[in-house]
């Protein structure tokens, strides 16, 4: 069984070395890792939830410190903490009543799980999770059966023990749901495409966002016909990738440069973009260049729609320095090192290099420029984001890691 610490440091080092990037990917990996953390957590007899929270938070700190720019990590950590708190509070009163019933349920569940996992384990060979699940649940039948035969004195101790187990299984369930949500969020977003994209409309997007792609494709599949302008998204020019993908789907795509967005905006009915993170005030951290596009859209009163999943929902405010910390990427994305190596020669006293290249990855777009957020749980206006935050995160965890782990 892989050591949990090894898994954590593995993901942390991947984040650190920028091997894992993008909010979707980081969110998924973080959620899966936290699931494993919860599974493997050895609970003390009392106060299981608190120790779990502590454990998750410790792991979260490591991950967040590994790459503070990937805000999705922090979002998932906070959400999981929130889940733990919720689960910890809600069912306490019901436990006694449900004890017997749920124990039996669990046993059945487990039997079912065991079967299914054995089959999947035999077919799939090396699996990460099933062994973990088995290891946890193997204890359960004993306690459950013991529970039923317990005398009345023991029933409270058993209840406490049971509640811990119960908590854990509920948690696993919730976290798995979260993983499921992350995996399916694109479909959830794409479902709303029909309501937003109308016949013969012209859509403008910038760069390449998987959400936007799915969104557009979903509308296309429902036989809507519309045109897409794609601003190519310098310096990575990921817009070209999107153009190719849309072409395969049979969508009419027109590629323009970033600098042409203002020229084109008057012919556009709607701007749809994907973002890096949604801030608590309704602003967004987005790929560089989006602010210009948002301003252009505002100027011409074109709706500026942001597609984002709930795991991009960040409980921080943009005045937080940690958040505005931009990722400065490699200058060679902008210009060719060889060609400019003459200008970047520091070796000669007279021409101490005056040429510098700055390549920030992100823009901050303030909420007043955004018309609508389309999330996997529906459409919201920027001013409503704080409510969503309250639903998704517990206030105790905001902001959870004030001191960066050094």
């Amino acid at each position: 069984m892989p050591d949990i610490q090894a898994l954590v440091s593995d993901l942390a080092s991947k984040l650190r070395k920028r091997r894992v990037q993008g909010s979707y990917e980081t969110a998924r990996l973080t959620a899966e890792l936290l699931c494993a953390v919860i599974l493997q957590h050895k609970e003390p007899t009392t106060n299981g939830a608190a120790s779990l929270i502590e454990a998750v938070r410790r792991v979260g700190e490591q991950l967040i410190a590994a790459n503070p720019v990937e805000l999705a990590v922090g979002n998932i950590v906070r959400h999981v903490l929130h889940i733990i708190r919720e689960e910890d509070l809600s069912p306490l009163t019901d436990i006694v009543g449900e004890l017997k019933l749920s124990a039996e349920d669990d046993v059945e569940d487990i039997a079912e799980d065991e079967n299914s996992q054995k089959s999947s384990a035999t077919t799939d060979g090396c699996l990460l999770k099933p062994p973990l699940l088995l290891a946890v649940f193997e204890h359960l039948p004993d306690s459950a059966t013991a529970c039923q035969t317990f005398s009345s004195e023991n029933i409270f101790a058993g209840k406490a023990d049971k509640s811990a187990k119960k908590l854990k299984s509920e948690l696993i369930k919730a976290v798995n749901e979260l993983i499921e949500d992350i995996n399916t969020c694109r479909e959830g977003i794409a479902e709303q495409a029909m309501e937003l994209i109308h016949q013969n409309e012209v859509i403008l997007t910038l760069g390449h966002s998987k959400f936007v792609k799915e969104f557009l494709c979903a509308a296309k599949e429902k036989k809507r016909s519309f045109e897409v302008f794609i601003a190519d998204g310098a310096p990575k020019f990921e817009g070209h990738i999107l153009a190719k993908e849309l072409d395969k789907k049979g969508l009419k795509a027109i590629v323009i440069t970033d600098s042409a967005v203002f020229a084109m905006i008057s012919r556009v009915n709607m701007v749809i973009v994907g973002v890096h993170a949604v801030m608590a005030n309704g602003g967004v951290i987005a790929p560089a260049g989006l602010h210009v596009l948002a301003l252009a859209a505002k100027k011409h009163d074109v709706p500026f729609v942001v597609v984002a999943s709930t795991h991009e929902l960040c409980s921080l405010y943009p005045h937080n320095l940690e958040v505005l910390l931009n990722e400065m990427r490699c200058p060679s994305e902008l210009l060719n090192f060889e060609e400019f190596s003459d200008c970047i020669d520091y070796g000669i006293a007279s021409s101490s290099s005056l040429l510098h290249v700055v390549n920030p990855a992100f823009d901050y777009v303030p909420p007043e420029l955004i018309s609508l957020f389309v999330t996997d749980i529906g459409g919201y206006s920027p001013s409503y984001i704080y409510r969503l935050i309250a639903d998704y995160y517990s206030s105790e965890d905001l902001p959870p890691q004030q001191k960066p782990a050094s």
């Binding site: 999947s120 060979g125 696993i172 910390l325 490699c330 020669d345 006293a349 007279s350």
Partner: protein
């Protein structure tokens, strides 16, 4: 719930399965990392610490190499340690590299190895390399992706079993003035087949004084096309097949990877092994070979060209740094520094953990290590200050390297290019002269001319170190200043350490490879010297004309008006003169000289008037030179600025003698001159040329102008019409231009009268 779990598990399994075949198909890639450069360029620092552990932007160099290898998909790295192997191994053991999943680091240790060749032979004996491997030295910084190069290598290997190595190269233009790349390495010449990318020729030690490189003509015969480059930089990253190791074993005299191995393979046509190149474009790769490249690569790292190996990304367990905006650019900061309010930290500076900076200090373009204490009113510019350095108030440091534990007493000044090795103490107000290297160790007295032998005396070096360490420790007492006074240059009151005398390479080499930028006066000096060279090169017409570009560059820097035609005519003139002089020396027949000048005329696309002018110019030059040829000798052979000074220093020609000489020469060579004087225009050109010479380059003639004009007339070289028209043209000119018309007024008068008489 069960269903969900199942789905998640299946998804995870699917993800794993999809990776697996990939992994299996790929044989785990191995790498050999030479943790030793086998040179002495970083002395005196490398006497105490191996080069791969020297901090580069506060991270020991070897981490950059290892991090890149890991990212590039290398599974197993053999670190070959030699000099200070203990330190390297200790460092690696305490680092996180030994505990990485999917990435193993193994060390191979040996003490009696003196070259890369020996190291590879030893590795071959150990029989640990099973497939293709990456050969790299522990001082290389890169962020390139190996996938493509590796793919190409493998495909070539499949087709041709002799393709044993792929060398990574990158475009980088050497400076035309210093003849070295921006990394401070010498200009590198490579011949590459543009289609197959096969390396055909490799020369990194070309003799620039000759300005020539020699290619085997077989190369040209055998290959349909060759491109010759001097704008490529060798990244010292090689992808090798296992045969490379056995090749080293077979050829036990291969020592140096490039000088012996690469050149050896290229020359050896019996075995037919081939080396190919792979050029990288947008990614970064550079090796730290000398102090200059240390400086340049550090700056590249700070400017993020090596992303993601930059100070604020924790790629190897280095401490977290934060970027802070300074103006438009960024400065990397550690969260735990103490900085006075009035201290100014400029852009592109990295400051390490726990460093204190006093008030009114100015720091720019520098790297400061951990735990340093910097006093007030200190000026630090373009410098590299390692850990735990104490700099007291009022010091000035410009473009220097300061190693761990150095103490600079108040008011000390380091001139550009200084290197202070470990724990040196600089006394109060002491000024360390430029380019000096200061160490606690004495300079090894026997300077081994062979630069391969770093460690021959290495062991003794460390012993020495410990003994001197003793004295250094006492330095807080009052003993040392006296004892050291006796036999070494002092480093001011309370200073500890020896200033190394600059080794045989001399000053010449110091500025080339130093951490300080090349001073401007050196550059102008060089470009002047190069102009002279250029003349020599043109003189020696066998020279490869690499120069079309160089010439215009150098002229531009002088600020001449350099239209191309002007340039051409200047060089044409020089060529003609050279031809003429040779003709005189070797008694070449006049007809042949005419032929040669004609060919020159065609190649430079000149008019016959230009030829006439040039020939006449050469003749006059010869005339000046003749009486003193023994005394002035070769100096006046070429009309360089220096030789003009020389000839001006001997203005003692008796005018009669000079006139006589001129007459003789004109008599001898009149046929040559006449062959270009087809029309009157050319004759006028000659007069104008002569006038110009008298004014500028050969003032000796000025008193003789009229007489020589007469001689020319007598010899039928100039017709009276030409002279008269010249005089007419000059009528309207400025007074200053009319000097010679005046001088020859009588003669012209006489000519006019004569022609009138004829009429």
């Amino acid at each position: 719930m069960g269903a969900q779990k199942k789905r998640a598990a299946a998804a995870a399994a699917a993800a794993r399965v999809s990776e697996d075949p990939d992994d299996l198909a790929r044989q785990p890639l191995q790498a050999i990392l030479l943790a030793d450069s086998f040179t002495t360029k970083f002395r005196p620092i490398t006497l105490e610490r191996p080069k791969v552990l020297l901090p580069l932007v506060n991270v020991p160099m070897i981490n950059y190499t290892l991090a890149w290898l890991e990212a590039a998909g290398v599974a197993e790295v053999f670190v070959f340690c030699c000099a200070h192997s203990k330190q390297v191994i200790d460092y690696l053991e305490n680092s996180e590299w030994f505990s990485q999943p999917n990435f193993t680091v193994k060390t191979i240790e040996s003490h009696n190895i003196i070259s890369a060749g020996d190291a590879l032979r030893l590795i071959y004996e150990q029989n640990v390399i099973h497939g293709d491997f990456v050969l790299i030295s522990g001082d290389t910084v890169s962020n390139m992706s190996l996938t493509q190069a590796l793919q190409e290598h493998k495909e070539r290997k499949k087709k041709d079993n002799n393709a044993v190595m792929t060398m990574i190269i990158k475009k980088s233009k050497p400076s035309p003035i210093t003849r070295q790349s921006r990394l401070g390495t010498d200009e590198l010449f490579m011949a590459i087949d543009p289609n197959t990318k096969q390396l055909l020729y490799y020369e990194d030690k070309a003799d620039h004084s000759k300005g020539t490189i020699c290619l085997d003509k077989m190369l040209l015969a055998e290959n349909p096309s060759i491109s010759l480059h001097n704008d490529k930089q060798d990244c010292y990253i090689d992808i090798c097949s296992p045969e490379v190791l056995s090749l080293f074993t077979d050829n036990f005299d291969y020592q140096h990877l490039r000088r012996h191995f690469v050149k050896g393979l290229l020359l050896d046509d019996i075995m037919g092994y081939k080396i190919f190149t792979h050029e990288i474009h947008s990614s970064y790769a550079a090796r730290i070979d000398n102090y200059r490249s240390y400086d340049i690569v550090s700056k590249d790292i700070i400017q993020r060209w090596t992303y993601p190996y930059v100070p604020d990304v924790k790629f190897c367990g280095n401490r977290a740094t934060k970027l802070e905006r300074r103006g438009i650019c960024f400065t990397a900061f550690n969260s735990e520094i103490e900085q006075s309010r009035s201290a100014q930290v400029g852009s592109f500076t990295v400051i390490g953990y726990g460093t204190k900076i006093g008030s009114n200090s100015k720091i720019s373009d520098s790297v400061i290590g951990e735990g340093c204490t910097i006093g007030s009113n200190v000026l630090i510019e373009g410098s590299y200050i390692w850990d735990n350095v104490i700099i007291e108030d009022g010091c000035e440091l410009r473009h220097v390297i300061v190693c761990d534990g150095v103490i600079m007493k108040a008011g000390a000044v380091l001139k550009p290019g200084v290197v202070l090795s470990f724990k040196v103490v600089i006394g109060e107000r002491f000024v360390v002269p430029a380019y000096s290297k200061v160490s606690l160790l004495q300079q090894p007295t026997v300077h081994d001319s062979d630069e391969e032998l770093e460690y021959a005396d290495n062991s003794s070096g460390t012993v020495e170190f410990s003994s001197i360490q003793g004295t250094a420790d006492q330095s807080n007492g009052e003993m040392t200043s006296e004892s050291s006074e006796a036999h070494k240059p002092k480093l001011g009151t309370g200073g500890v350490g020896y200033i190394w005398s600059i080794c045989e390479g001399g000053q010449e080499e110091e500025w080339r490879h130093s951490v300080a930028p090349i001073p401007e006066d050196k550059l102008t000096e060089l470009s002047e010297a190069m102009d002279d060279d250029q003349e020599l090169v043109t003189q020696d017409r066998t020279a490869l004309s690499t120069s079309g570009e160089l010439i215009s560059d150098s002229n531009a820097s002088e600020g001449d008006d350099n239209e191309d035609s002007k340039d051409d005519s200047v060089y044409f003139e020089k060529e003609v003169e050279a031809t003429f002089l040779r003709a005189v020396e070797e008694n070449v027949k006049v007809d042949h000289v005419i032929l040669e000048v004609n060919s020159l005329r065609l190649s430079y696309n000149m008019t016959s008037a230009d030829c006439a002018g040039a020939v006449f110019y050469s003749m006059m030059k010869l005339a000046i030179k003749t009486p003193h040829s023994s005394a002035i000798g070769l100096l006046t052979l070429y009309p360089s600025p220096f030789s003009m000074v020389a000839s001006n220093a001997y203005p003692i020609y008796l005018s009669g003698e000079l006139q006589q000489n001129t007459a003789n020469i004109i008599t001898t060579w009149q046929k040559l001159l006449k062959s270009y004087l087809l029309e009157i225009d050319e004759e006028i050109e000659i007069i104008l040329k002569f006038e110009e010479m008298c004014l500028e380059s050969a003032k000796e003639f000025s008193p003789l102008f009229a007489r020589i004009l007469h001689i020319l007339y007598d010899k039928d070289i100039l017709q009276e019409d030409a002279i008269l028209r010249w005089a007419d043209e000059k009528e309207g000119a400025d007074e200053s231009d009319k000097v010679f018309v005046r001088q020859s007024e009588k003669f012209i008068q006489w000519l006019r009268e004569a022609s009138e008489e004829e009429d």
